[in-house]
């Protein structure tokens, strides 16, 4: 990276208006059934955000909307003050572990290198330098010795670490992690939390979909309670309390659910 752009980025940072992620009035619906309703929040740089909510609350949909993979009915999403597509390089995504076929003939090292593919670009080959960087990322997660293993030989936790390494190697500034802690061993969980904290301390931002309410206060400094709409967003110690959780998990908006369902089937109820 040359000095010119470096300077430019510093200038931008100093203005401090370009939050890593800024979402205004985001509304998403599938076949007229709202999945996200009027979601608004701003994630500031250097924060570790837990995204918490019941099943079907729209957490994964939120990620997809951020990455511009699904059409939205309204609202605006700014990633580093820009459209996502323009800032794609600076966003790293860790999909759910179940999303791929782990029997696929690749090694763990190759999977991590995939994080560099868009940087390498079309028609260019993976070089030794790229492999070294992939290995360094794996080192950080303690799986460097598994680089040549086929991915089906890894344990669930190791597979999750491989996915995280693939995101790290990208050296992004905003991380979107979809349930990185689901069905992993304790060691993996500790390492992932450590890495996420390092990222935060380096001024990066991470949004983490998380299910285990017990660990939320100790893992995340900021929390987004989501159930169709934003129930609460803010510092964990201020927001993460019984009343909000009750609203997130208890108060299902049954009437709204029924009405939107009726809308979808074009019935009056």
């Amino acid at each position: 990276m040359n000095n010119g752009t470096d300077f430019g980025r510093q200038a931008l940072d100093r203005r401090a208006v370009t939050a890593p992620l800024e979402i205004q009035h985001l509304t998403v619906s599938f076949a007229r059934k709202p999945v996200l309703w009027d979601v608004t929040f701003v994630a500031s740089a250097g924060s570790l955000i837990g995204v918490v909510g019941p099943n079907g609350a729209g957490k994964s949909t939120l990620f997809k909307a951020i990455m511009d993979l699904i059409p939205r009915q309204g609202g605006e999403i700014r990633v580093f003050g820009d459209r996502f597509t323009a800032q794609r390089r600076r966003v790293a995504y860790v999909p759910q572990r179940e999303s791929v076929d782990w029997d696929f003939p690749v090694t763990a090292g190759e999977v991590v290198t995939m994080g560099l593919y868009s940087e390498i670009g079309w028609f260019r080959r993976v070089t030794r330098e790229h492999r070294r960087r992939a290995l360094a990322a794996m080192e950080r997660l303690g799986i460097a010795d598994l680089a040549n293993r086929q991915i089906s030989e890894l344990s669930g936790g190791q597979q999750q670490r491989t996915f995280l390494a693939r995101a790290l190697v990208q050296q992004a500034d905003l991380y979107l992690l979809d349930e990185p802690f689901s069905a992993v061993d304790a060691a993996t969980e500790t390492i992932i939390v450590e890495v996420l904290r390092e990222l935060r301390d380096a001024g990066k931002t991470a949004l983490v979909i998380h299910h285990d309410l017990q660990t939320v206060p100790s893992y995340f400094d900021t929390v987004l309670l989501l159930n169709l709409r934003v129930v609460a967003f803010g510092k964990t110690d201020e927001v993460f309390q019984a009343e909000n959780l009750q609203k997130t998990y208890g108060g299902r908006l049954t009437l709204l659910d029924e009405a939107t369902e009726a809308m979808r089937h074009r019935r009056t109820i």
């Binding site: 009027d38 169709l228 908006l253 709204l256 009405a259 109820i269």
Partner: protein, 447 residues
């Protein structure tokens, strides 16, 4: 009909259609389970894989028809199903690939056998298999004094066999198809059911292969069930609908085969091929009109919904106007301006509501009748109830409430309104306008 379709000859064409319908129905019946199990290509695979069985049986008996050929084909068909299943489970080969490996290998063996046999015995590939639905009525049997085509009898037997299999094991098949692992935990012998199904598919393929051409059975195994899936919701209706679709396709196919080519001065075209094309045509047709994916239906319902919303907005607009104290009848332009809708749409709404007796013309504008006023009040009540509900439960900013309530109000009737009313505490909407009371119910007591 006979006038449009020249050369229609009942003793021939009637039988062809009857045979086609039977074949289509028995294939569609089994095909429903194959499609649900994601084994749609099994029919095609089996129809290729039976070749070595046929060739061996022929070389052994030197006869083109009869039980050995049938048995050989069934054994080969079963081998395909079992071997591919084994490869998939024990060899961890991808499902489609397993099928591909097995059937191409068997097919190649069959070709080599035929080639080998041809050098020794007088065996021409053409002699091994001989089947065209056009000629099926010519090969006759007489049963109890009734003379009928052999293919008809064979297809009838196959259909009875398949139907009784499905009827007897209806619920087991259902659960084994829907949730195989659960079924197994319940003690249902899923692998055996699967094998039974495969045997029947093989029998169906062989029976049709010999008499009507296998493209017919391959098409009928996949296309009618896939078509039916587009509009049915239950297994029973899937089975019935796909059988009917197959039958319709068979009839349409034969009619097309004997009439279409005439327009181009040709004699005729393959009936089996045309039946496959006809069920393909049915698929396209259903795609267009079925309520689930129906492109036409979606367009129609989208339009009618938009009209309903636009119309109801006119009513609500008149209500709000009178609420604000306007006594004079509303003019067309005024409504258009308020709603931001085209005069055409508003005119259409007025025309409709006038016919329904909700609007009357007075002076040079429009006024709500008593029943129109009631209807409009319901809408406005729905709207304001929703605004209040959303404000209280979603903490939505006030300026965005209107939009959300605007779409919800059109789907809200009295039952939902009273439930909404129970859940909210305010009697005014977030903008400070009172929520009109439900007609026929007393006002909520205010404390």
């Amino acid at each position: 009909m006979t006038r449009i379709i020249t050369d229609w000859y009942w003793p021939l064409d009637g039988w062809i259609i009857a045979i086609g319908i039977l074949c289509a129905a028995s294939a569609a019946l089994l095909g429903s389970f194959l499609v649900l199990r994601r084994l749609s290509l099994l029919g095609d695979s089996i129809s290729h894989a039976i070749l070595p069985g046929l060739a061996l049986a022929f070389m052994w008996t030197a006869s083109r028809s009869g039980w050995p050929v049938f048995a050989g084909a069934i054994v080969a068909g079963l081998l395909t199903a079992l071997a591919s299943q084994w490869l998939q489970q024990r060899g961890r080969v991808d499902e489609g690939a397993a099928l591909g490996v097995v059937f191409t290998t068997l097919f190649a063996i069959g070709l080599i056998l035929i080639n080998y046999g041809a050098a020794r015995v007088d065996l021409d590939p053409g002699c091994v298999l001989y089947g065209a639905i056009e000629f099926a009525p010519l090969d006759r049997l007489s049963i109890a004094g009734w003379e009928m085509p052999r293919a008809f009898v064979v297809q009838l037997i196959v259909l009875v066999l398949n139907t009784s299999f499905v009827l007897v094991l209806h619920k087991e098949l259902k659960i084994a198809t829907f949730a195989p692992e659960y079924a197994e935990s319940q003690g249902i012998p899923v692998p055996w059911l699967h094998r039974g199904l495969m045997v029947l598919v093989a029998i169906t393929a062989v029976a049709s292969f010999e008499s009507v051409g296998s493209i017919l059975v391959v098409a009928m195994l996949v296309v009618p069930p896939a078509t039916a899936l587009l509009f049915v919701n239950r297994l029973k209706s899937l089975l019935i609908a796909s059988m009917l679709l197959g039958a319709v396709g068979a009839i349409a196919g034969h009619l097309a085969a004997i009439s279409l080519p005439k327009w181009f001065g040709l004699r005729s075209a393959s009936t089996a091929g045309m039946m496959a094309v006809a069920v393909g045509g049915l698929f396209v047709l259903v795609c267009l009109v079925s309520p689930r994916c129906g492109l036409l239906a979606a367009g129609y319902r989208g339009l009618s919904l938009r009209l309903k919303i636009a119309f109801e907005d006119v009513l609500a607009c008149l209500y709000r106007r009178s609420e604000r104290g306007a006594r004079s009848p509303a003019k067309l332009e005024e409504i258009c301006n308020r709603l931001g809708r085209s005069p055409f749409l508003v005119q259409l709404a007025i025309w409709r509501y006038r016919r329904l007796g909700l609007l009357v013309h007075s002076q040079d504008g429009w006024r709500l009748t008593e029943s129109g006023f009631e209807r409009a009040e319901e809408l406005v009540r729905s709207h304001r109830l929703w605004e209040t509900y959303l404000a209280e439960n979603l903490a939505m900013p006030a300026e965005r409430l209107h939009e959300a309530a605007e779409s919800l109000e059109h789907f809200t009737a009295q039952p939902l309104r009273s439930r909404l009313a129970e859940e909210i505490s305010a009697t005014e909407d977030p903008h400070g306008t009172p929520i009109p009371p439900e007609r026929g119910t007393p006002r909520k007591p205010q404390d």
